[in-house]
């Protein structure tokens, strides 16, 4: 097995814009290793989120190669990619995307249920994970009853509950204040990052860059720099 969790090479992705096409990715190349937290940074509209969507298989690229855990996603059928995501990918969204009519523990249990675990066991396991992130007293609270930081912790629990090998975070601190953002990344790094896992974070929040093991800088649909030390990116 390669030590590369994600291997993206010369990926091209465009979207229709009237009679022409707008290229969001123009040959992006990127690798992510097991046991590392990789941050993809760059200005708005540079293609960060598109690259993230391509990596997790929610968007299909038109050109290039895309290998996740030694699986060539471009050769997989749609249902295989969906199944792959279900088992191997955990998501943390910018807007949390917690279902408002489900409690914290029910929200966190969804990936397990999608993986065929019985509701009872899934809820029990989700409760344990929520307790690990300090929400044991909020298991039965609805999203509307939780603060931004608590919502993000529920989202992290949902992303981790089925023990995926790839965790995708899209602007995880965008809806949080500075302190809550720091805590979220602390939690993410301590609970999500393990030797057999890879965490990819898309962000433009420079207050959390120091949590990264590596930083990939994007501009105009391409990865223009990889920084093995986050400080290098700050100084660049």
């Amino acid at each position: 097995m390669s030590n590369l969790a994600v291997d993206v090479s010369d990926v091209v992705k465009s979207f229709p814009a009237g009679d022409t096409r707008t290229y969001a990715l123009k040959g992006a190349t990127l690798t992510a290793k097991f046991g590392e937290l990789l941050m993809i940074v760059g200005p708005s509209g540079c293609g960060k989120t598109t690259l993230l969507s391509v990596i997790c298989g929610t968007l299909k690229c038109e050109e290039g190669s895309l290998t996740i855990f030694d699986h060539d996603l471009r050769r997989m059928k749609d249902w295989q990619i969906t199944l792959f995501r279900c088992v191997n990918v955990g998501f943390i969204f910018q807007q949390f995307n917690l279902i408002p009519t489900l409690t914290a523990v029910e929200n966190a249990s969804i990936p397990l249920i999608l993986n065929g675990v019985s509701t009872k066991k899934a809820v029990q396991r989700a409760g344990e994970v929520l307790a690990e992130v300090g929400l044991s007293d909020k298991l039965h609270s609805y999203p509307a009853q939780l603060s931004g930081g608590q919502l993000q912790r529920v989202a992290i629990s949902r992303a981790l509950v089925h023990e995926p090998r790839l965790i995708i975070c899209d602007e995880p601190t965008a809806s949080l204040d500075a302190a809550a953002g720091q805590k979220t990344l602390d939690l993410l790094k301590s609970s999500a990052l393990q030797p057999d896992r890879c965490v990819i974070v898309v962000t433009h929040d420079n207050r959390i860059y120091h949590f990264a093991d590596r930083i990939a800088e994007m501009e105009d649909g391409r990865v223009i720099g990889i920084y093995d030390d986050p400080k290098d990116y700050h100084h660049a």
């Binding site: 989120t49 969906t82 279900c86 998501f91 807007q95 279902i99 969804i110 999608l114 993986n115 509701t119």
Partner: protein
């Protein structure tokens, strides 16, 4: 995931209540109106049901049970002469005027039963004996007569007298029969006395009732009798449906009720369809998140279908339940007419299934087109 789908539905109380109310109202409207329509249709066939004879012989031009073209009394003998006829008796039915003790008038449906056999007698006697019809001036009245006379301040009981075309009628029995379409009370007497009560006319026989010998079906017997010139014999079941179809084709009743039922369908589609669309639309972001997390399309489709059919089932149950409660309440008063055969709830169930399928389809199209990547936007 189906449990999750139900929680998403039931806990969104405002939309859930609106969906259930819309479908319940739609079911109630369709079920209640269809049942009232069926009740009216049953009223049109009240005479056929009350008399219950296997074969009805009428003038060849008659199109339905409430249309009486008088025949000569000799027709009874002609019918009896047909091979396969076990028995044939005369029946008189005519609208007459009864004058009450206080001088007021009431239209009645005078029914003259064969004096010897009392064929077509009412089966449910509340007071008195039907055999007492053979006593002088004897009549048996139905529950409608009791009710209508009561409204005019006259209490009908055994022994009460009133006049029919200036001839005395004495109540010897009170029965319960199906109401007539025009709402006139049934007043039973013997055929011979009915001839006395009725205004004199050259032809006074309304129907000949006949029954087949063993081994001959009603239809076969009717076919044989119909070969007699000027006569038409109709099996009871055929006369029942002929009458209903006549009213459907020749009156505005089905259009009137059909319009309300159609309104029910439209209201159902408009309210339920629109609300369910909004429900799915509001949850689209979360469904996309589920799709991104690995929920396959058939899982999401099952969730949406379950949600649609759950509200459909609950709304249908409430609507049909309310219609049944309404029916149960009005049946005691016998007005408005109400008859809910199994076909009515089955029809309403079919419409609700259509509405739910339509609503779910709109939602499913949205879900199918959903790009999971939308969750990153």
């Amino acid at each position: 995931m189906l449990e999750i789908a139900l929680k998403m539905l039931f806990r969104d109380r405002a939309k859930y209540a609106m969906l259930v109310c819309g479908l319940a109202f739609c079911s109630l409207l369709m079920c209640q109106q269809s049942s009232v329509f069926c009740g009216i249709m049953m009223w049109t066939t009240a005479t056929v049901q009350n008399i219950g004879a296997p074969v009805w012989v009428v003038d060849a031009k008659v199109e339905q049970a409430n249309e009486v073209i008088p025949m000569r009394q000799i027709e009874v003998e002609r019918v009896r002469s047909v091979h396969g006829v076990a028995w044939a008796v005369p029946l008189y039915i005519g609208i007459e005027q009864a004058r009450l003790g206080d001088g007021s008038f009431q239209n009645i449906q005078l029914t003259g039963l064969d004096t010897g056999t009392l064929t077509g007698r009412p089966m449910d006697m509340h007071a008195g004996r039907i055999e007492d019809l053979r006593l002088p001036n004897a009549v048996v009245v139905d529950q409608v007569a009791v009710e209508k006379f009561r409204r005019k301040g006259i209490t009908i009981k055994l022994g009460t007298t009133f006049e029919i075309n200036d001839k005395e009628a004495r109540v010897v029995g009170i029965c319960h029969v199906n109401r007539s379409f025009l709402g006139q009370p049934y007043v039973y007497t013997t055929f011979d006395r009915a001839m006395e009560y009725a205004k004199p006319a050259r032809k006074q026989l309304s129907y000949v009732l006949a029954g087949p010998v063993p081994g001959v079906s009603n239809r076969e017997l009717a076919a044989r009798i119909s070969k007699l010139p000027g006569l038409r014999a109709i099996p009871k079941e055929d006369l029942f449906w002929m009458t209903i179809w006549w009213y459907i084709k020749n009156t505005g009743i089905p259009i009137s009720f059909g319009t309300v039922v159609l309104l029910g369908v439209i209201v159902g589609i408009a309210i339920a369809g629109q609300t369910f669309y909004l429900f799915v639309h509001d949850n689209l972001r979360y469904l996309a998140a589920l799709k991104a997390m690995g929920a396959r399309l058939h899982t999401l489709a099952a969730m949406v279908l379950l949600q649609a059919f759950s509200v459909g089932f609950i709304g249908y149950g409430i609507g049909v339940g309310l219609a049944a409660w309404f029916g149960n309440t009005v049946l005691a008063k016998e007005q408005p007419p109400f008859f809910m055969p199994w076909q009515v709830p089955a029809f309403v169930a079919g419409v609700i299934i259509f509405i739910c399928s339509f609503s779910a389809l709109i939602g499913l199209i949205k879900v199918a087109r959903l790009e999971p990547a939308v969750v990153f936007r």
